[in-house]
Structures are given as C-alpha cells and as structure tokens.
C-alpha cells in the first residue's frame, strides 16, 4: 500500500519534470514560422501585455524560464522523495552530492559566514545550466536573451551592494573616492560595470554559440551543394551537415552552457564575499550590542 503510494507520487513528480519540457516543445513547434533560411533573431513573441513605461512581450525566453523553474522544482521533489537517514537510493545519493558539492564550493570561495548563500548559488547554477541546455531538445535557450541574464546580474548586484553596505554607509561611499577623489567617476563606472559585464559575458557566450552553429550549418549546406550538387537527387541532400554540427553542439550547448553557469556562480561568490568588509561589520555589531546593553 505504501509502496504503491510512493510509486504514484514518483510518477507524478516525473510527469512534473517532463511536462514543462513537452509544453515548451509543443509551443515551439506550433509557433515556429516556416523556414526562411538562416535568420538569426531573438525569441518569438507570443503576445504582448501593455504596461507602463514599456510594453511587456511574453516571449519564448520567459515561457522557457518558467518551464525550467517548474522542471527544477519537480526534480528537487523527486530527488528528495523518500529521503532516509540510511542512504538507500541513487537519487538520494545525487541529492546529497549536489548539496555537499555546492556547500563545499560556497565554503571554499566565500567562507563560513556566507553559508546561507549555498541555495542561491545552487539556484544560479541550476537555472543557468538548465536554461542553456534547453538547446539540446531544440528549444530557445533563455540565457541567450539579454533580459534574462541581466535580471540575474542585477539581483547579484543588489546582493553585492547589500553586503558592502554592511560595513556602514560612510565606509561604502568612502570606497568610491579611493585611492584619490579624482577616481570617483571611474569607481562608479566599475561598480556599474560588474552586472553589465556578468550579463553580457553569459548572454554573449550562449548567443554566439547559436550564431556560430547556424553559420557553420549554413556553410556546410552550401559546401555540400557545391561538391555534390551535380549528382541528380542525391545532390539535394546536404551530406556534409552530418557530424560536424554535432561536435559544435557538444562544445557550445553542453560544455559552454555548463561552463558559463559555473563562471556566473563563481563571479557571484567572489564579488559578494570580496565586497563584504568583515572587520568593519564585526566592529559595528559589537557597537550595536554595547548600545543595546546601555
């Protein structure tokens, strides 16, 4: 009875993992226009919601991000389903492995104080990697939309500023005038450049992968037509497109996607822990406690 219940819940979770992907693929198939040759463009707009300042177009990248969110949520539920003290299942091993690895990463790069960051780093890694890996099932990767990555980078920027402000507003503002007052504009630019650089790096890498893959595929098609075009029937099949794009896909879709996720997470950890003035923060805490006692 218990096993049956367990199995049913398991199946529900697996459905929760598969269904978002299936939905995204269906939408893609339904809304992709007939081939117009090689065209590099942004995400497909499903519909537009009028909003103040700027209309909000609901695009493929939005829908795909939500699909990834649901997928990861169900994946987590599936992994920790039936978790026990005595490790009995492979999925529990995977869940423990993920948590331990990310914990270790955060501990190494940020220190004990930032252990609360572990789920956040895990979220960045998972969202970025899964978004980039969506190309594997032929979907539009949300990470090749600047808006998506910019959102993450701005959240990270808020976090960096928040932890910098823990040393006191005075100290934060004073940081801009160092080493001399004349450097202030440059310092402000470099502060703003952090999220910009992070978002452009990630978005550019994923998008360039798509662009290069498309270019190479087109070039191979042309080459194929040039070499084999004189044979009747067979000449129409682009034989040279077999093989080489797959190698590129392994690099751009799998390797680059995971690498960019890792880089984004690493930069987040380094910027947040690097901007945090630990000594000043402790001094302030001591002062606050002293005040409380008074």
């Amino acid at each position: 009875m218990k096993d049956k219940k367990f199995l049913i819940v398991d199946i529900l979770y697996i459905l929760g993992i598969i269904l978002p992907l299936a939905l995204a693929v269906t939408l893609k198939v339904l809304f992709t226009p007939a081939s117009e040759g090689v065209a590099i463009h942004g995400a497909i707009i499903f519909f537009t919601i009028p909003m103040p300042i700027q209309d909000l177009p609901i695009t493929e990248s939005q829908v795909n991000s939500w699909c990834v969110l649901v997928l990861i949520a169900f994946l987590c539920l599936f992994l920790v389903h039936g978790v026990k003290e005595k490790c009995g299942t492979k999925r529990q091993l995977v869940a423990e492995w993920i948590v331990e690895k990310v914990d270790g990463l955060v501990k190494d790069n940020m220190g004990e104080f930032f252990m609360e960051f572990s789920p956040f780093i895990c979220a960045i890694l998972a969202l970025s990697a899964f978004s980039s890996l969506m190309t594997l099932v032929g979907l539009y990767p949300p990470t090749s939309d600047i808006n998506v990555v910019a959102g993450w980078a701005i959240l990270v920027f808020f976090l960096i500023t928040h932890y910098k402000l823990k040393g006191g507003v005075k100290h934060y503002l004073k940081g801009f005038t160092e080493p001399i007052v004349a450097f202030t504009p440059i310092n402000i630019i470099s502060e703003v450049a952090t999220p910009l650089a992070m978002s452009f790096r990630h978005y550019g890498n994923v998008l360039s992968g798509t662009v290069i893959s498309a270019l190479v595929a087109t070039a191979l098609q042309g080459l194929s037509g040039l070499v084999l075009g004189w044979i009747p029937v067979i000449g129409d099949i682009p034989f040279l497109q077999i093989g080489i794009p797959a190698v590129l896909s392994v690099y751009f879709d799998i390797f680059s996607g995971c690498l960019q996720a890792f880089i984004f997470a690493m930069l987040t950890m380094l910027y947040v822990s690097g901007g945090f003035p630990a000594d000043l923060y402790q001094e302030r805490m001591k002062k606050k406690e002293a005040k409380k006692k008074k």
């Binding site: 942004g42 909000l56 939500w66």
Partner: protein
C-alpha cells in the same frame, strides 16, 4: 510570428527574470536543502549516538575483562595455597605412617626374640630330662647292680651339675 531583436532590452522582462531567480532560490531552499540538511543532521546525531554506545560497550567490556583477570590471578594464588597445604598434610601423614611401621617392626622383632629365648629354655630343660633318663638307663645297665634309688638320683644330679659347670665354663 513576430520575434524580438537579438538585443532588445525590456525592463519588465528583466524584473521577471530577477524574480525567477529569487523564486528558484526559495524553491531550492525549501524543497532540496531543507530535507537534505534535516536528514543529514539526523544522520549525524544517529552516528554520534552509535559512537557513544559503542564506546560505552567497550568500556563495559574492558571493566569485565579487568574483573575476570583479577579473579583469574586470585584463583591462581588460591590454588597455590591449597596445593601447599595438601603437600604439607600429605607429608605429615606419610611421616606418621612410617614411624608407626617402624614401631610395629621393632615390636615384632622384640616378640620374636622373646619367643626364641623361651624356646631355647624349653629345649634346655628337655635335654636335661633326656640326659637324666639316658644316664640312669646307662648306669643301670653298666653297673648291673642295685643301687639305692635316692643315692642313684644324687649321683646323677652331681654328675649333671658337673656337666653344667663344664658347659658354663666353656
């Protein structure tokens, strides 16, 4: 189907994406980290408890071992005492038996001597009587004459005493 440009910045999309990441943080925290961490702390507790139990058991076993070793060594000492006592007693008993036997042997030898002497005296008496008879018969035959019995008797006694004196003198 309209599409976005390759680079098109939209403030609302950025905010949605920001919220997505924040939401995923909450999801991971709640669905992945909380159960796994909870299980890990419980496991740690269990392991600690088992270690403590094992240590306790080890200590108890050590105490038992010490106790038994003490008992064993005391048993050894006891055994030695008992053995010594037994040997001592056996020696005493043996000595008693030997002295008793010696005493008995002496007694037997004494008795035998006494009996031999009595035999000897008896034999002497017998010889004396025989000699008297023999000599009376002999003298009667030799002399062939009648003699007063009393004189006769006195003569023989005299003779025997002479013989005795001769025997004693030898």
């Amino acid at each position: 189907m309209p599409t976005l440009d390759v680079i098109s910045v939209n403030i609302w999309q950025i905010i949605i994406s920001l919220c997505n990441l924040a939401l995923l943080y909450v999801i991971l925290r709640k669905f992945l980290y909380r159960p796994v961490k909870k299980m890990m702390t419980e496991r740690q507790k269990k392991i600690d408890r088992q270690y403590a139990d094992a240590e306790q058991a080890q200590e108890a076993a050590n105490a038992d071992k010490r106790k038994w070793e003490e008992k064993l060594s005391s048993a050894d000492a006891e055994k030695k005492v008992i053995l010594d006592n037994a040997i001592l007693r056996a020696e005493q008993v043996g000595d008693g038996i030997v002295s008793e036997a010696e005493r008995k042997a002496d007694m037997i030898v004494e008795q035998a001597k006494r009996e031999a002497e009595a035999e000897k005296a008896k034999a002497q008496d017998e010889v004396k009587t025989k000699i008297v008879e023999l000599s009376s018969i002999l003298s009667e035959k030799m002399l062939q004459r009648e003699i007063n019995a009393d004189d006769h008797r006195a003569l023989i006694d005299e003779f025997i005493e002479e013989v005795d004196e001769d025997a004693d003198g030898d």
